[in-house]
């Protein structure tokens, strides 16, 4: 059979297949990069060739070479080891912030749906949180608690709450309109079951996809706060701090700033690619 009769002869098949194949390669690469980065970060104590805090001023600012794969920094510390430990710290703070912030955000957003009388109050609260730049929070917290990883984590967590809250509320409103919510109520299920098993569970895919997309942003924001010196202070190995240290020697030892930045870049990019793929898979659930 030849698809010519009705003018549909341009075969849409090959184009679509090509597109899918291209998407497949990008996804596979993103997964691979992410797996390597996370794996290395987890196994940093085993894999790292040097102690990330061991100062050797005689070996300062060596370019990448056989002794130090990615070279050394101003104080002769092995950059590769520092990046391994730094990624670990960065992932740890971002993930802690993301999980804590999204739990609070999702509960708030879904509560606004489930208890309509609370909608106005929660809605305003989320709006207020949304109107504060996270950087400002970090600055304020840093000023009151002193610099450290805790204020950065709290700031990142708070930055996550309103966005997740709004996504959860939107997803929840869609789910609440479904007849199975009424069906559960008609069976006589308790409020807790209805909230978690019926409402929250069905909103999870939407929230999860959003979080995947958001993770990259949180990493970037955390690295930014640390870069500005609001978070982990030197000599702590954290990707943002490492990039900040390299800034001073950018002119004659560009590798010190480049490699940490590149790690952040790859991490965020692959997370975003992955998030996009997940969203496409579930996009009928998204508004």
């Amino acid at each position: 059979m030849t698809p010519t009769g009705t003018g549909q002869s341009i075969s849409p098949r090959s184009a679509k297949r090509r597109r899918r194949a291209k998407g497949g390669v990008a996804t596979a690469m993103a997964v691979a990069i992410l797996a390597v980065i996370v794996g290395v970060a987890l196994l940093a104590p085993v894999l790292a060739p040097y102690d990330p805090y061991e100062v050797d001023l005689s070996a300062a600012l060596q370019p990448p070479g056989s002794a130090h794969l990615l070279g050394t920094d101003m104080q002769g510390r092995d950059l590769l080891s520092r990046i391994m430990y730094g990624t670990r710290l960065t992932l740890l703070t971002s993930l802690t912030a993301l999980v804590s912030g999204s739990v609070v955000g999702a509960l708030l957003g879904l509560a606004a749906v489930f208890f309509p009388s609370s909608d106005a109050v929660i809605g305003r609260l989320l709006d207020i949180l949304l109107s504060f730049p996270a950087i400002l929070f970090g600055l304020a917290l840093g000023a009151s608690l002193g610099p450290g990883l805790l204020p950065v984590t709290i700031a990142l967590s708070i930055a996550t709450v309103p966005e997740v809250g709004r996504i959860a509320r939107a997803a929840g409103l869609t789910i609440a309109r479904q007849e199975y919510m009424q069906s559960g109520r008609a069976i006589g299920l308790g409020k807790t079951t209805l909230f978690f098993k019926y409402l929250a569970w069905n909103c999870m895919p939407t929230i999860f996809v959003f979080l995947t997309l958001r993770f990259g942003f949180i990493i970037l924001l955390g690295a930014g706060l640390n870069f500005l010196g609001l978070g982990a202070a030197p000599p702590a190995a954290e990707l943002g701090v490492l990039a900040a240290e390299g800034r001073n020697v950018l002119a004659f030892a560009p590798h010190v700033a480049t490699y940490p930045s590149l790690t952040i870049f790859l991490l965020v990019l692959s997370l975003n690619v992955l998030g996009d793929v997940l969203r496409d898979k579930l996009d009928k659930r998204l508004l």
């Binding site: 059979m1 030849t2 698809p3 010519t4 009769g5 009705t6 003018g7 549909q8 341009i10 075969s11 849409p12 098949r13 679509k16 297949r17 899918r20």
Partner: protein, 332 residues
């Protein structure tokens, strides 16, 4: 006899999977619609009735390809370039969709949406377009059309919105109008009004209409000829009076008997056991054989051809015409 407005011959739609497989979803659909005629296309979900309409309108999704000949008046749609074909669809060949809520753009007034069709097809310039929109709204029975022309879709009721959708379809002065379940989303009394409107428009304008519906009642009210689709094949095609009085295909008979009757009360409704086979699962024989009380061994081996058993009455059944009840002991 004059040339039919729309003539379709051996229309088929095939799905090409990403893995190189291809499955024919509808096949061998042929019919013609003359001026003032309404073809009713009946079938349950999965019968391919909406796909037939989409294939005519060139609106098939990716992975779907249509074959066959479509003649609109004297032009073969298949030989047109995509751009010409697009221009034809929406003017010469227009379509009304099921859900009037989503078929209209919520941010434009109904007048703007009618005018847009007129301007796109260069049927009027901006100022006369508005007058024409008012005129069309009046033709589809919208009261106070000169005020309603500035209304937004959400300000209108469901029935009024469906009238607007019909007015938009009429803007291009189509020779054939395809209506895909136009009354399914509407209330009973409004359904009747819309069906009346479609019948009147078809008669007044000498327009051909194709009415797609799962509702045999709606088809009976409006259609002049009826085509019954089952699993992507035409199983029966007859003038409306003849179909509802002398249906011959077992599927049509089953469908008619599963309708609750208005006269006479019966204890149980008749049903058709089993399910519609998925496309590509029936390779030999008749697609209805598994659910057919009259099926013979032959029916599972040999695909029945659509044969004319009376003037204009075509049936795809090896046992047609079914003269008598099938087996003895059927006195019930």
């Amino acid at each position: 006899m004059t040339l039919p407005l729309l003539a379709v011959d051996a229309l088929a739609v095939t799905h090409h999977g990403a893995d190189g497989s291809s499955v024919e979803i509808i096949g061998d659909v042929s019919f013609s619609i003359g001026a003032g005629e309404t073809l009713g296309l009946v079938g349950e979900s999965g019968s391919g009735k909406s796909l037939t309409a989409l294939a005519l309108m060139d609106l098939l999704g990716p992975n779907l390809a249509a074959t066959g000949t479509i003649l609109l008046r004297d032009r073969s749609l298949g030989s047109l370039r995509p751009r010409e074909r697009r221009r034809l669809c929406g003017s010469e060949l227009a379509m009304v969709f099921q859900d009037p809520m989503t078929a209209l753009n919520p941010v434009y007034t109904v007048g703007d949406q009618i005018a847009e069709v007129l301007l796109t097809h260069r049927l009027a310039s901006r100022r006369p377009a508005r007058d024409r929109a008012v005129e069309l709204l009046g033709q589809v029975g919208i009261p106070h059309p000169s005020q309603r022309v500035d209304a937004y879709p959400h300000q209108l009721s469901g029935g009024m919105r469906q009238r607007v959708v019909i007015a938009i379809a009429l803007a291009g002065d189509p020779s054939v109008l395809i209506a895909d379940e136009p009354t399914t989303a509407l209330d009973v009394t409004i359904q009747a009004q819309i069906l009346d409107l479609l019948r009147e428009l078809s008669a007044q304008r000498g327009m051909g209409t194709m009415l797609i519906s799962h509702d045999l009642g709606a088809i009976a009210e409006v259609a002049t000829q009826v085509m019954v689709l089952y699993a992507g094949r035409v199983v029966e095609h007859a003038p409306v009076d003849r179909l509802f009085a002398e249906a011959q295909h077992p599927y049509t008979i089953g469908l008619l008997s599963s309708l609750p009757k208005l006269g006479g009360r019966e204890q149980r409704l008749s049903t058709i056991a089993g399910r519609v086979p998925l496309p590509g699962t029936v390779r030999t024989g008749c697609r209805f054989a598994d659910r057919c009380p009259w099926a013979l061994t032959r029916c599972r081996l040999e695909a029945p051809a659509l044969t004319e058993i009376a003037s204009g009455h075509r049936v795809a059944c090896l046992r047609a015409p079914l003269l008598a009840p099938p087996s003895p002991g059927m006195a019930a």
